[in-house]
Symmetry: C2
Subunit: 345 residues, 2 copies
């Protein structure tokens, strides 16, 4: 956040601020008929299904501004919503953005936030069609709604997994969680609570994963190109274990996931060792990876195996077999949805 | 809020809570294909334009739980979003709801909120297609996104007002603002700050206006029935003066509004007198009435005059004449957008 050279928000007022932050926004998609400036945005989706997802992010719960630059926060806030649309096998087209800010924040802070937001939107060809900024008594609240589209027969739900389907994930898991641990450690150092020198060398990937996640548009495109429509799909925001159990419970199935097949980056493994944490637990329960978890029919095995950055990690079973992790030594451990649940803490 | 017999949110956890609050929600509209329970809601609007509006309401800024029952808050949160869709000459069809709640709140509180929300949705035939509940370090944050539809040539923007058009408003103005003053006074009494006995007798309408506003679906329907498509329209959330200036600035026009024609309820007038406030100022700048402000061509004068609860209060002029109030004694006072602007305070 900007400490010096700050311009107070009160100098612009509500309408002035919104205008200032959004005046250079152009609409890119033909589906966006009218953007910011009226009571509602006007969109058009002939022949398509419309996807709507929304996220409310609260300071102190979902992000910590001590180690999250506002530009990254803007980028990530947009990205996690795009991820939800891709997880339906759709294409994000528009977002609306509402911010509630306390007096701690200045105009330059919000410019940084919008810079990140716009960058994410440019990369994914998404229009910002609504922007609202209001005040908050404490902290920052960010509410983003993303609208996307998909051809009528292409939407993929969580509830379509079938016995014998293959379970696939994109990228690797647990790195965002390790990045978060790393940042928390640095924060403790910064606040003089611990006597550990922060050292980010060789851990850049972990920081990137937590601060600048990327929604997997590339995987959706690769699946389409390969002619594969997943039977079920969702994005991994709460952790693999929790998400797998959602798919199985909604599909009325069980599953087997093989510990040795869970994709984990080298830096994640090194960090887990350093923190003396169980690596598989981190990969199963660490959230915020925003990778895609999906199931495909057994017949798609060869095709899906050829997609870069996708790995088959197990298979769907009948419901009565339950959800289990098959460990390296062949034991079966029941999956538990520990996940990331601030309401239980 | 529930003080006794409270069930802590932690007993259900995030997923359990969402399920508990939304399990009896049924989808009513054919445009709602899939609601709560996946990464995104799935909607379908063949041949229609899609309207999207969103609101972020923060405790301590937009509402005060000392005098706002949570059921009313749920009702109002939905209603103000419906109002934005009607203000585009559209029909609200779906909402998504995100709540961030601190530990002060219990499950029964959120049940109350959802009860009000569902009541508003039932009255306007709107489906709840997304619901998310997360935690907050302090206070309550409510984010609602409303999706509506309108036939392609029927959307009404703010920017279509033309010289000589008539300026119309529905209902009456200033009552919500007076209701707010009344509640603030009662709060002061409650907190022992002032020695005034609260007395709501004969002021029920003012309380209703601030606690339980109604979106003017009836006016939109009456306009359609009368074959009138407004040239510009918006809802009055910040105050007549501020909204009129939006329409004029976006339409590139000026306006004249006649003080004697501004509709004001008897209770509002009595209360302004009691508070020693200027009645016209309250009606011009008091926010949260959620009435519709719109312009129609001069040729629609007779037709619009016959619509119940609509009043012609002035006319649009060329831009160079500016925006002015014509007082009872014939003087012209330039309109100023005082409005309600928490970011300037």
């Amino acid at each position: 956040m900007h400490e010096n050279n700050r311009t107070e928000i009160a100098t612009l007022g509500e309408f002035g601020l919104i205008k200032h932050l959004t005046q250079d926004i152009k609409l890119e998609n033909p589906e966006s008929k009218y953007g910011i400036g009226d009571d509602a945005a006007v969109l058009e989706f002939p022949e398509k299904q419309v996807l709507v997802t929304t996220d409310l992010l609260m300071e102190g719960v979902h992000f910590d501004l001590v180690y999250t630059p506002l530009k990254h926060l803007g980028y990530k806030s947009a990205m996690v919503n795009f991820s939800d649309i891709y997880a339906m096998n759709g294409t994000p087209k528009q977002i609306t953005v509402s911010l509630a800010v306390s007096k701690r924040f200045c105009i330059e802070d919000l410019e940084d936030f919008y810079e990140g937001l716009k960058l994410a939107c440019q990369l994914h060809h998404v229009d910002i069609v609504g922007g609202d900024t209001t005040s908050s008594v404490t902290g920052l609240a960010i509410s983003i709604t993303c609208i996307g589209e998909a051809p009528k027969d292409q939407v993929v739900y969580r509830n379509g997994a079938k016995d014998t389907d293959l379970i696939c994930v994109s990228g690797d898991l647990g790195a965002a969680y390790m990045g978060l641990q790393l940042m928390e450690r640095e924060k403790a150092v910064f606040q003089g609570e611990k006597d550990v020198q922060p050292d980010f060398a060789g851990k850049e990937y972990l920081l990137e994963r937590i601060l600048k996640p990327e929604a997997r548009k590339d995987i959706i495109e690769a699946l389409a190109k390969a002619g594969i429509k997943p039977t079920a799909m969702m994005d991994i925001s709460d952790g693999l274990s929790s998400e797998l159990m959602h798919i199985c419970s909604q599909s009325g199935t069980g599953c087997r996931v093989y510990e040795e097949r869970i994709p984990i980056d080298y830096q994640t493994a090194v960090m887990a060792e350093e923190f003396n944490m169980n690596l598989t637990t981190c990969a199963l329960n660490g959230g915020e990876d925003y990778e895609l978890l999906f199931t495909v029919p057994l017949t798609a095995h060869e095709a899906v195996s050829q997609i870069k950055d996708v790995k088959v990690i197990g298979h769907i079973t009948k419901a009565e077999l339950g959800c289990a992790l098959v460990t390296r030594d062949g034991n079966e451990l029941e999956l538990k949805a520990q996940g990331w649940n601030p309401l239980k803490q």
